[in-house]
C-alpha cells in the first residue's frame, strides 16, 4: 500500500483547482489514522522509537503541511510540536518535532528549543530548528545558550551564530576563539569569518598574530571568507588589506593563489596587477592571472597588453593565455589567438585551433584553412577539422568552407570535405558527390567516407554511375559507400533495378564485379537471374564474385545455384565460401522437413571432416526431430563426434517438451539423460 495520490504520467503543469483540491484531500486523507485527534497523535508520537510504525509521525506531518496552507491552524500544530520537546519524549520524537519546527516554528517555540540547547544530545537538533527563524529573538536565545554549554555543544551554537552572521555575537565568539577546547576555538574562528565585518576582520587580525599550531590554517581560512564578504558588501579597502597580507607572507601556494584572485577582484588597477604577475617570476601565481584575463577590463588596449606578455610565459602558460584571450571579444584578442596558429610550439598551435573552433565564426575559416595547407601532422589536421565542425552552423561559415575548397588540394582538401560532411550531414551530399569524382584519391576517399554516413536513395544512382569511373585506389570506399546508400533505400526491388541497370552498361570487369557484389542488396528474382548469368561468365574474377554474392543472398531462393556452384567449383576457397553460404541459407527459415532435406544434401556434399564439422555446426540450429536423426549417426565417427554431440544437445534442448521420447533416446546415445 502506498500513501499518496498518484498523478498520471502526462500531468499538466497547471492542474485545475478541482484536481488540486482532490489531490490535497487524498494526500491528507491517506495519512489520517483512527487517532486523528492532535492530542492523541502527539501522545503517540512522543513515545515513538526507531523501528516502530511511522504512521503517527506521518499523520502529524500531514497536519503540519495542512497548517502551512491554513495559518489559523498553525498555532495549534506548533503547540503540539512544542509538546513533543518535553523531557519525557523520546529522542526520536524530539528529532521529528525539530524537523517540523524548522519550517513552521515561531518565537513561541524558542523557550522549549532553548532548553534543548543546553543538552549535548539535543543541541544539534535544536539548532536545526532555531536556525530557520528570522534574526532577533532567535539569536538572543543562541547567545544565551553559549554561556550554558561547553565543548561540542558550544561549537554547534557558535557555528549556527556564524551561519546567521550575528554581529551581536562578535564579542562572545571572539572570546570563544581563544577557548582551550580546539573544536570550540575552531568553530569560533570560522564564525568570525562568516560574520564578515571589519570588526570581525580586526579580531581575526589579532588572532592571526597570536595563533600557532593547528588553528593557524583555520585563521587563514576565516580571513579569506571575511575578506570576500567584506569585498562584496563594500569594504574593499579592508578586504584588500587581508589579501595583501596573505600574498606576501610565508603562506601555502593555495592561500597565495586565493589571495591573488581575491585581490584582483578589489584592485582598482587589476590590469596592472595581472601584467605584473604575468611578467614576474612567480610561476605559482601565473595561472591565476591568466585565468583572470577574460574578466579584466574589456577593450583592445588591455588585450594588446596581455598579448605582449606572452614572451614571459612558458609553453604551457601560453596555451592557457590563448584560451583566456579567446574569451575576450575584441579584435586584438582574436588577432592574438589567430597569430598563435603560426607558433612553433605544437601545443600552442593546437590550443589556438581548438579555441578558434569554440569561439570563432565565418572569418575564422580562412586562417584555419591556411594553417591546414601548411600543416603536416595528422593530429593538427584532425584538430583543424574538429574546429571547422565546431564553428557556428550558419550559412556564412559553411559558405566560407566551400570557398576555401577552391584554393586547396590533396590532404587539406580532404580535411575540408570531411569537415563539411560532419557539419552538414546529408546536406553536404551534393558537394560530396562532386568531390567523390575528384581524381585525387585522398579527396575522393574522404568524400566517399562522408557519403557512406549520409547518402541514400537520392544519391544512389549517381554513386552507382561513379563506380564505373572510380580509380582503383578508391574502389573499396566507393563500393562500401554505395552499398550503404542502397541499404538506406526502403524498397529492395528499386535497389535491384538500379544495380542491374548499371550492370547492363558496364564493360570493365572490375566495375562489373563491384556491381555484382551489390546484387544481394536487391535480393529479388531479377537480381538473382543477373547473378546466375554471371556464374557462366568466362572471366574467373567475375565468376568468383558471383559465387561470393550468392553466398550472401538473403533467402533460400539462391540455394540450388549455390549448391551447384559449391559442387562444381574447382577453387577450394570459393567452395568453402559457398558451403558457408549454404549453411547460412539453410537456417534462414524455421526448421521443417525442407530444411532437414537441405542438410541432407549438404552432408552428402561434404568431402572432408572440416566441411562436415561446418555443416554439423549449422545443423544444431535446425530444431526438428528429423534433424536429430540426421545427426545421431555421426556420433559414431570419432573425428566429428564432438560437433555432432553439440548439435544433438542443441536440438534436444529445443525439443525437450515437444518430443521428449526422441530427445531421451538421443541423449541416452550421448550418454546423458534429460
Amino acid at each position: 500500500m502506498h500513501q499518496t495520490a498518484k498523478l498520471p504520467a502526462n500531468a499538466a503543469m497547471e492542474p485545475s483547482p478541482q484536481a488540486l483540491g482532490c489531490l490535497l484531500a487524498l494526500f491528507i486523507g491517506c495519512f489520517t489514522s483512527p487517532a486523528s485527534d492532535l492530542g492523541d497523535l502527539t501522545a503517540q508520537a512522543a513515545n515513538f522509537q526507531t523501528g516502530q510504525s511511522l504512521a503517527p509521525l506521518r499523520t502529524l506531518e500531514a497536519k503540519v503541511r495542512e497548517a502551512v496552507a491554513k495559518p489559523a491552524q498553525r498555532s495549534e500544530v506548533e503547540a503540539a510540536l512544542i509538546q513533543l520537546l518535553n523531557e519525557e519524549s523520546t529522542y526520536e520524537a524530539k528529532l521529528f518535532a525539530c524537523r517540523q519546527l524548522a519550517f513552521v516554528a515561531s518565537e513561541k517555540s524558542l523557550p522549549a528549543l532553548s532548553s534543548l540547547l543546553r543538552k549535548p544530545d539535543t543541541v544539534g537538533i535544536a539548532c536545526m530548528a532555531i536556525a530557520t527563524l528570522p534574526p532577533g529573538k532567535a539569536d538572543e536565545v543562541l547567545r544565551e545558550g553559549l554561556t550554558a554549554t561547553q565543548g561540542n555543544g558550544k561549537a554547534q551554537i557558535i557555528a549556527t551564530l556564524g551561519n546567521r552572521r550575528d554581529r551581536k555575537a562578535l564579542k562572545e565568539v571572539a572570546a570563544a576563539a581563544r577557548d582551550a577546547d580546539l573544536s570550540v576555538a575552531s568553530a569560533a574562528l570560522s564564525a568570525l569569518g562568516e560574520i564578515g565585518t571589519p570588526s570581525a576582520a580586526d579580531c581575526l587580525s589579532q588572532l592571526a598574530a597570536d595563533t600557532t599550531g593547528t588553528l593557524k590554517s583555520t585563521v587563514t581560512q576565516a580571513e579569506l571568507v571575511c575578506a570576500d564578504l567584506m569585498a562584496r558588501e563594500g569594504s574593499r579597502k579592508q578586504a584588500k588589506r587581508i589579501y595583501e597580507s596573505l600574498l606576501v607572507g610565508p603562506q601555502p601556494t593555495w592561500v597565495r593563489r586565493s589571495a591573488l584572485a581575491g585581490r584582483l577582484g578589489v584592485e582598482n588597477d587589476a590590469e596592472g596587477l595581472t601584467l605584473e604577475v604575468l611578467r614576474g617570476s612567480d610561476s605559482a601565481l601565473k595561472p591565476v592571472a591568466i585565468a583572470a584575463a577574460p574578466s579584466l577590463k574589456q577593450g583592445s588596449k588591455t588585450s594588446r597588453a596581455l598579448a605582449s606578455s606572452v614572451s614571459f610565459l612558458t609553453e604551457q602558460e601560453r596555451t592557457w593565455l590563448v584560451d583566456s584571450m579567446a574569451a575576450r571579444p575584441d579584435v586584438d584578442a582574436r588577432a592574438f589567438v589567430v597569430s598563435q596558429l603560426g607558433c612553433s610550439a605544437d601545443s600552442v598551435r593546437l590550443a589556438a585551433i581548438t579555441t578558434l573552433g569554440r569561439s570563432g565564426d565565418a572569418r575564422t575559416v580562412s586562417p584555419l584553412a591556411l594553417r591546414l595547407a601548411n600543416c603536416s601532422e595528422n593530429e593538427e589536421r584532425r584538430a583543424i577539422e574538429s574546429a571547422l565542425v565546431a564553428l557556428p552552423r550558419d550559412l556564412a561559415t559553411s559558405q566560407a568552407i566551400r570557398s576555401a575548397l577552391a584554393n586547396v588540394a590533396g590532404q587539406p582538401r580532404a580535411t575540408l570535405v570531411t569537415a563539411l560532411s560532419r557539419r552538414e550531414g546529408a546536406g553536404a551530399n551534393p558537394i560530396l558527390l562532386t568531390e567523390a569524382a575528384n581524381p585525387d584519391p585522398t579527396v575522393s576517399r574522404a568524400a566517399y567516407r562522408g557519403l557512406a554516413r549520409t547518402a541514400g536513395q537520392a544519391e544512389a544512382p549517381a554513386m552507382l554511375a561513379l563506380l564505373a569511373v572510380s580509380a582503383a585506389q578508391v574502389r573499396t570506399e566507393a563500393e562500401s559507400a554505395t552499398a550503404q546508400a542502397l541499404l538506406r533505400m526502403s524498397n529492395g526491388s528499386e535497389r535491384s533495378s538500379l544495380v542491374r541497370l548499371q550492370l547492363q552498361t558496364a564493360k570493365d570487369t572490375e566495375v562489373r564485379a563491384g556491381l555484382v557484389s551489390l546484387l544481394p542488396l536487391g535480393g529479388d528474382g531479377a537480381a538473382l537471374q543477373s547473378l546466375k548469368a554471371c556464374l557462366v561468365e568466362t572471366d574467373p574474377v567475375l565468376r568468383g564474385v558471383a559465387i561470393r554474392a550468392l553466398a550472401e543472398w538473403p533467402d533460400p531462393s539462391a540455394w540450388s545455384s549455390l549448391l551447384q556452384a559449391c559442387n562444381t567449383s574447382a577453387d577450394l576457397v570459393l567452395r568453402s565460401v559457398a558451403l558457408r553460404g549454404l549453411v547460412r541459407l539453410a537456417n534462414t527459415q524455421p526448421a521443417d522437413l525442407t530444411v532437414v532435406d537441405r542438410y541432407k544434401q549438404l552432408l552428402h556434399t561434404t568431402r572432408n571432416d572440416s566441411e562436415l564439422k561446418l555443416v554439423l555446426g549449422g545443423l544444431g540450429a535446425a530444431r526438428h526431430p528429423a534433424a536429430l536423426e540426421l545427426a545421431l549417426p555421426y556420433l559414431d565417427r570419432s573425428s566429428v563426434r564432438a560437433e555432432a554431440a553439440v548439435a544433438i544437445r542443441a536440438i534436444a534442448n529445443a525439443l525437450k517438451t515437444s518430443d521428449p521420447e526422441a530427445v531421451d533416446a538421443a541423449l541416452s546415445k550421448l550418454g546423458t539423460g534429460t
Binding site: 500500500m1 502506498h2 500513501q3 504520467a9 500531468a11 503543469m13 497547471e14 494526500f27 495519512f31 526507531t50 523501528g51 510504525s53 511511522l54 504512521a55 503541511r65 502551512v68 496552507a69 526520536e92 524548522a102 519550517f103 544530545d121 544539534g124 536545526m128 530557520t132 555543544g153 554547534q156 557555528a159 549556527t160 551561519n163 590554517s217 581560512q221 579569506l224 593563489r257 586565493s258 584572485a261 595561472p287 584560451d323 601545443s347 593546437l350 590550443a351 581548438t354 579555441t355 569554440r358 584532425r382 574538429s386 565546431a390 552552423r393 560532419r422 550531414g425 546529408a426 557512406a452 554516413r453 574502389r475 573499396t476 563500393e479 562500401s480 552499398a483 550503404q484 563491384g514 561470393r548
Partner: protein
C-alpha cells in the same frame, strides 16, 4: 576488390578526443596529455597528488579512471569504515606496486597533508557538500560525486567556498563529457529538432526500506563520522545500507539520478548560471506503517523556464528504463542511458553523429578535464556553480513534494515565493561537522 560479408548502415569509426566537435565547443582547450607531456613519463615532482575520501563501491568504480592517468598519483585514502579503508589502500598500492598509500580513518588528517593537491570525494551524499567545503578550505582541488549537496543552501555555500578559496572543482556529472549526450545537446542547440519546448527525463522507481529496530554499530565503523552533518539517529542496518532513501542522509532517486539529467537540460538550454522559475511535483510515498524510508517511490515533476521550455522528470519504471529526451516542434532526440543509444525523429539527425565515444560508464574524459584545469586554475565543465544550478532543480522538486505545493523560484536571488520553502533552503549541520 571488396566482398563485404555484412552490410548495415554504419559510419566510419573514429575515436579521437580532439575529433569531438561538441567537446571543443564546450570545454576549455583540452589537449591530449601527451602534447602537454602530462601522460608520459611525468616526473614525480610534477604529478598531481590525490587523496580519496570515501572509498566504497562508487570510489572503486571510478578510481580506475583516475589511475589510468600517469600524471597523477594517489597517496592517501580515507574512510570511516575500516574494511573499505584497507581494501582501497590495497587497490591503490597494487596499482602502483608499492605500499606508499596512507590510510586515514579521519579524513581531516588526509586534508591536513600539505603534499596532497586534490581529492576524490565518493562518500555518501550527506558528505558530498560538506566534505567538498572542508577540502576547498584546506586548499585542495576536488572531484566530487553527485549530487553535490543536500540542500540548495549547501550548494550555494559550496560554490561560494570554492570561489573564495580558488578550489578547482569538478562534479561527477560526467555525462557532459560523454559523446552521446554531447551529440544530443549539440543537435538541439543547432536547431535540428526545431524550437525546443520540452525536456523529458526518466529515472527509476525507488525501493522502500522496511521498518527495523536499531542494532549495535558494527566493529570497524565510525558511525558518528558516517552520519556526518545528518541529525543523530540510532544505527539501523537497513537505513545505513540504503541511505539514499532517507531525507536525513540523501534526497531519493529523483535527486540522486535526476541531477544527471537536469545538468544536461541546463547545459543544452545554456542556463548554467540560472534555472527554471516554476516547479511542481507529486509523488507516491512509502507506507509509514511498514516502511522506514521517507523519499518518494514514484514521482512526476515539472519545471518551467522563463523561456517557456518545460522540463518533466518521471520517477517510474525500472533502472534500465532511464532516458533523456529533447522534444522540439520539428522532432525529438533521445539518449537511452542504459545502452547509450541515441535515437531521433527525423532519423536523418543521426547522420551527423560520429561513431565511437565511450559511454557514461567511462569518466576518463571528465577526469582529464579536471586534471587540465587543476594545472591551468580554471573551472572544469561541471564546476560548482553549474552543478549547484542543476541540483537546485531536483531540490526544488523535493521541496514541492515535502510541502505538497507548487513553488515559484527567483533564480537570481535564489528564493522561493513560499516562506516555508525558504526556511528549508538550508539545514543546520550537526556539530562538529559545521564547516
Amino acid at each position: 576488390m571488396t566482398h563485404p560479408r555484412t552490410r548495415s548502415p554504419q559510419t566510419i569509426s573514429r575515436r579521437n578526443f580532439l575529433a569531438r566537435s561538441t567537446a571543443a565547443l564546450t570545454l576549455p582547450s583540452i589537449l591530449p596529455g601527451a602534447v602537454l607531456g602530462l601522460n608520459g613519463a611525468t616526473p614525480p615532482s610534477d604529478r598531481i597528488r590525490f587523496g580519496a575520501i570515501g572509498v566504497g563501491n562508487r570510489a572503486r568504480a571510478i578510481l580506475p579512471n583516475f589511475l589510468s592517468f600517469r600524471d597523477i598519483q594517489f597517496i592517501g585514502v580515507s574512510d570511516c569504515r575500516a574494511d573499505r579503508l584497507q581494501s582501497a589502500k590495497a587497490m591503490v598500492d597494487t596499482h602502483y606496486g608499492n605500499s606508499d598509500c596512507q590510510a586515514y580513518a579521519d579524513f581531516r588528517e588526509l586534508l591536513a597533508r600539505p603534499d596532497i593537491d586534490a581529492v576524490l570525494i565518493a562518500t555518501g551524499n550527506r558528505w558530498h557538500g560538506l566534505g567538498s567545503i572542508y577540502a576547498a578550505k584546506a586548499g585542495k582541488d576536488i572531484y566530487c560525486e553527485k549530487p553535490i549537496s543536500l540542500t540548495i543552501g549547501e550548494g550555494r555555500q559550496l560554490a561560494e567556498t570554492c570561489r573564495r578559496f580558488g578550489a578547482v572543482y569538478q562534479a561527477g556529472t560526467q555525462r557532459r563529457s560523454t559523446a552521446s549526450y554531447q551529440f544530443a545537446a549539440d543537435m538541439v542547440r543547432h536547431g535540428r529538432i526545431g524550437k525546443l519546448h520540452t525536456v523529458e527525463m526518466q529515472v527509476w522507481a525507488g525501493p522502500t526500506i522496511p521498518l527495523e529496530a536499531p542494532s549495535p554499530v558494527p566493529a570497524g565503523w565510525d558511525y558518528a563520522t558516517w552520519l556526518g552533518q545528518s541529525p543523530w539517529h540510532p544505527f539501523v542496518s537497513s537505513r545505513v545500507n540504503a541511505w539514499q532513501y532517507f531525507w536525513d542522509t540523501a534526497e531519493g532517486i529523483l535527486t540522486d539520478m535526476g541531477c544527471h539529467y537536469t545538468d544536461q537540460m541546463q547545459w543544452t538550454l545554456g542556463t548554467d548560471d540560472t534555472g527554471p522559475v516554476e516547479f511542481e511535483a507529486e509523488g507516491e510515498f512509502p507506507d509509514p506503517a511498514k516502511m522506514a524510508s521517507d523519499t518518494p517511490i514514484t514521482a512526476v515533476a515539472h519545471c518551467k523556464y522563463a523561456s517557456g521550455v518545460t522540463g518533466v522528470l518521471y520517477q517510474r519504471g525500472e533502472f534500465k528504463d532511464r532516458y533523456l529526451r529533447y522534444i522540439g516542434d520539428e522532432g525529438w532526440i533521445q539518449v537511452d542511458d542504459e545502452t547509450d543509444l541515441v535515437t531521433a525523429e527525423p532519423a536523418s539527425i543521426l547522420s551527423y553523429k560520429e561513431a565511437g565515444g565511450a559511454g557514461w560508464g567511462d569518466a576518463s574524459d571528465h577526469v582529464r578535464d579536471l586534471l587540465n584545469c587543476i594545472r591551468s586554475r580554471r573551472q572544469p565543465a561541471c564546476n560548482p556553480e553549474v552543478a549547484h544550478r542543476a541540483i537546485t532543480i531536483c531540490q526544488a522538486w523535493n521541496l514541492c513534494l515535502r510541502l505538497n505545493r507548487k513553488l515559484k523560484w527567483d533564480p537570481v536571488g535564489e528564493r522561493f515565493d513560499c516562506a516555508e520553502a525558504n526556511r528549508m533552503l538550508h539545514r543546520e549541520a550537526r556539530s562538529p561537522w559545521c564547516a
